[in-house]
Symmetry: C2
Subunit: 273 residues, 2 copies
Amino acid sequence: MSPRQEPAPGGPSALRAAIARQEVTGPTAGLCPGYAQANLVILPREWAFDFLLFGLRNRQACPILEVLDPGVPHTQAMARGADLRDTLPRYRLWQNGELVDEPLDIKHLWRDDLVSFLLGCSFSFDDALVAAGLPVRHQEMGRNVPMYCTSLPAAPAGRLSGPLVVSMRPMAPEMVEHARRVSGAFGEAHGEPVHSGDPAEIGIADIGRPDYGDAVTINPGEVPVFWACGVTPQAAVAASKVEMAITHAPGHMFITDLRAEDLAGSSLISCAA
Amino acid sequence: MSPRQEPAPGGPSALRAAIARQEVTGPTAGLCPGYAQANLVILPREWAFDFLLFGLRNRQACPILEVLDPGVPHTQAMARGADLRDTLPRYRLWQNGELVDEPLDIKHLWRDDLVSFLLGCSFSFDDALVAAGLPVRHQEMGRNVPMYCTSLPAAPAGRLSGPLVVSMRPMAPEMVEHARRVSGAFGEAHGEPVHSGDPAEIGIADIGRPDYGDAVTINPGEVPVFWACGVTPQAAVAASKVEMAITHAPGHMFITDLRAEDLAGSSLISCAA
């Protein structure tokens, strides 16, 4: 279970600087309220077409915010000039589909053929849920959001395939429609829930044991509500035995300079060079 | 100058069958009114990531409608099961950036590593312009639309770069705002014009000599109106000296099963496998 981090003063760039100094190494849920957060996937150029197509075919799980040219580690559209190699609190290194390390930066792993993708993240709408009076249990408990592999397949692309991964927020049944409307406005941050109610219907055997992140309390009378999750690419990297990949550690996101409401709407934000 | 083809009875699938029998070999402007038409780009997998990113970074010129897996020549989303290797009236074969052939089918050129992209086409909104009482001169004259390379650069992606290519429709100056509104609704078919008036402002030296397609008459008092064009990838293939590429011949498009109005709106239609 990961401790809650206090937000750094000074906004996203100050927080990214603190992360780069490794002063902040935990999950980013609730940090820099109001700013969009992003999932990170880095793959060799050899896998980049398959992954970009995978993202386009699984837009609810993998809403593509920015794609960088091979070898370029600095974002333009999401936070001009930020170095993706040390401005996330924790990374995951994958080799042949196996998780082999969780480093705090990836400068030593960088190669000229690596392509970086930033994807929308559900933390972007958590603040909107809170503002709407809806519960965001992992924020209340100071934990990472619980995430689960499902029995729903993601749409395959080339050599990439795997299950849809979902994040979960429990709430009273009568709140679900409201949550659907609030999150549905965030078209580039997973949008509407994909399921609510019985976890077994989407292949989740034990709601108390998430595959990623932390378990949260489901109060009596509440139902779990599930959203497509940007960890879906990590499940595909594992299932497809990709030779080498780097991702964010689940819940340890890239904090962008965009306001969360900038990800409302349904069109691709940017693929700027 | 290409002769006007009469529309085949029986809708898009009958027309595609006639094209596959090589009974229809000319430009497709005005054929199957009401149905969306599409640009085709086929590249080796080695270039597919650069091109997909080029398309995403140049969405007005290259609105991506469908991307097929490597080696798959049959569309799903745009016309289920249609074989892209013989259902366009004419193709272009490019080697090292040079145009080397304009075959009527490409079955003999097919390879397992080829990736096909279908992009939105301005012919999709020509019918809407006509319905709005606006002139579509190339249709009136039974010619291919005139297209020009401009001095405006397309956004580069990886190894791909080149100029923006535009199509042109002349009309009275007081009609331009109306045309902007009508075409602007076709978000996946180039949308609003990128320029109207003096061609020299976007680097077109001689409006009477298009780089692709046919010249059309500009009546006294009319201004040329320019839209981003799906031939832009062909200019990038040439400028970037791509080893091998296959495209449609300009104006000789893929006729889809989608209604043109299905391309209205601003979101990506499909990247279905």
